[in-house]
């Protein structure tokens, strides 16, 4: 009799494995049998929460406490939110938004032709390079880096400078003509943004975008 019951239980498991829904009655039968039969218990008990799709048990396998969520939220917001409180005329404190750059521009400089107020001519030296100026208006940023495939996506190697202290960060980089590059700006070492002035964006593989530059 027990053997027949075990055979039936095995058929329930087989059905579940192939994607079938055992049905409530079969699951109850399974549960009861596992209490009575040690062999089947050792074979199938681990599958029971999955077969029952018992959310309570399944979620208890990876328990998440309310305090975990609060701690994580505090940490995320702390990392994100850099504020410089300033007094408005009403006396209330208003936090400036540093989280979004106002504008950016990439000025590409070719020999004898320039967009912007700076030019460079590299043709004479025989190198197939152009001098590219990257600019980003980020008045509330403490630092701005340029990161791309030309830096092996390493942060820290190309730091933009706010030379005129007007919130416009810039850097000039020699890149090869005829090549296509992808890059991001990194604000305050933690916030990656594509170049807001360019519509040529590509998936960065992390659910976001990088900017594409064709020279």
């Amino acid at each position: 009799m027990m053997e027949d019951a075990c055979t039936f239980i095995k058929s329930i498991i087989d059905s579940w494995e192939t994607g079938g829904d055992p049905g409530e009655e079969a699951v109850l039968t399974l549960e009861q049998h596992l209490k009575e039969c040690r062999n089947c218990r050792s074979r199938y008990l681990g599958l029971l929460p999955l077969i029952k799709e018992d959310r309570e048990i399944l979620q208890s396998i990876y328990p998440v406490r309310e305090s975990d969520t609060d701690t994580a939220a505090d940490a995320v917001m702390s990392a994100l939110y850099r504020s410089t409180p300033e007094r408005t005329e009403s006396g209330k404190t208003k936090t400036r938004r540093i989280l979004f750059a106002a504008a950016a521009a990439v000025i590409i400089l070719f020999g004898g032709f320039s967009i912007g107020f700076y030019s460079a001519n590299l043709r004479g030296n025989g190198r197939n390079e152009v001098l590219v100026r990257f600019e980003l208006a980020a008045p509330d940023a403490a630092s701005v880096q340029l990161v791309g495939d030309f830096t092996d996506w390493n942060e820290g190697s190309l730091e933009l400078k706010d030379k005129n202290h007007d919130g416009v960060w810039e850097i000039e980089v020699r890149l090869k003509k005829g090549k296509t590059y992808t890059y991001n700006f990194v604000i305050n070492g933690e916030r990656w943004i594509p170049d807001p002035s360019s519509t040529k964006q590509v998936d960065d593989g992390f659910g976001g975008a990088s900017t594409m530059l064709q020279l």
């Binding site: 498991i13 579940w16 494995e17 192939t18 994607g19 549960e31 596992l34 209490k35 009575e36 040690r38 062999n39 218990r41 050792s42 074979r43 199938y44 008990l45 681990g46 599958l47 029971l48 929460p49 999955l50 799709e53 959310r55 048990i57 399944l58 979620q59 208890s60 396998i61 990876y62 998440v64 975990d68 969520t69 609060d70 994580a72 939220a73 940490a75 995320v76 917001m77 990392a79 994100l80 939110y81 938004r97 989280l99 979004f100 933690e190 916030r191 990656w192 943004i193 964006q201 960065d204 593989g205 992390f206 659910g207 976001g208 975008a209």
Partner: protein, 187 residues
């Protein structure tokens, strides 16, 4: 208006504080996913913070006409895949888990079906699955998504997902079969 959509619009308008609401809403699910992927609560804690920071960085790229959670999941997924490879090679992980995979006690008929040992065994068995099978298993059984929702999120066909779930269940059944590993013999 969808609440997530409104929150995202507020955040993009400069109300960064609204992002806390999103973090608190989705943290349990993302944390559970990270834990299931990486196998360690501590690794998951670090990962989940980084995931939410990355999601914030790229929030402007989110299409507010679509659901937020699939997009957030894609950010999480990309990060978790890289982290998983970085933390430990699969072989090392497999060896460690298998050496620690102890059968729960099946001696007493009254033992609780929800014993900690059993939960640990299920958890470890899930960790032993290859990523291609673990992902749909986690989403289906631990994140309570349907086959069609999983297919949409992973950009795979429903048949593909069903096939992976089948193979995942098959492997779990084999891993969780402690009958042959029990040190006690049947009398």
């Amino acid at each position: 208006m969808d609440n997530d959509k409104k929150l995202v619009q507020d955040i993009l308008s400069g109300e960064a504080s609204s992002y806390r609401v999103i973090v608190q809403k989705y943290h349990p699910r993302i944390f559970r996913l990270a834990w299931a992927f990486l196998g360690s609560r501590e690794d998951a804690e670090d990962a989940v913070q980084e995931i939410f920071l990355r999601a914030f960085r790229h929030l402007r790229n989110f299409n507010t006409e679509k659901s937020f959670y699939p997009w957030l999941y894609s950010v999480a997924r990309n990060y978790l895949r890289t982290e998983y490879r970085r933390i430990v090679t699969f072989k090392e992980r497999k060896d460690v888990i298998e050496s620690n995979l102890q059968p729960p006690s099946f001696d007493t008929p009254e033992e609780k079906l929800e014993s900690k040992e059993l939960k640990d065994a299920v958890k470890q068995s899930v960790h032993l699955l290859p990523v291609s099978l673990r992902e749909p298993v986690i989403l289906y059984y631990f994140d309570d998504l349907s086959v069609s929702e999983i297919a949409e999120m992973l950009e795979l066909s429903e048949e593909n997902i069903k096939s992976r779930l089948f193979r995942g269940r098959k492997k779990l059944r084999k891993t969780l079969n402690f009958y042959n590993r029990s040190t006690e013999k049947e009398v």
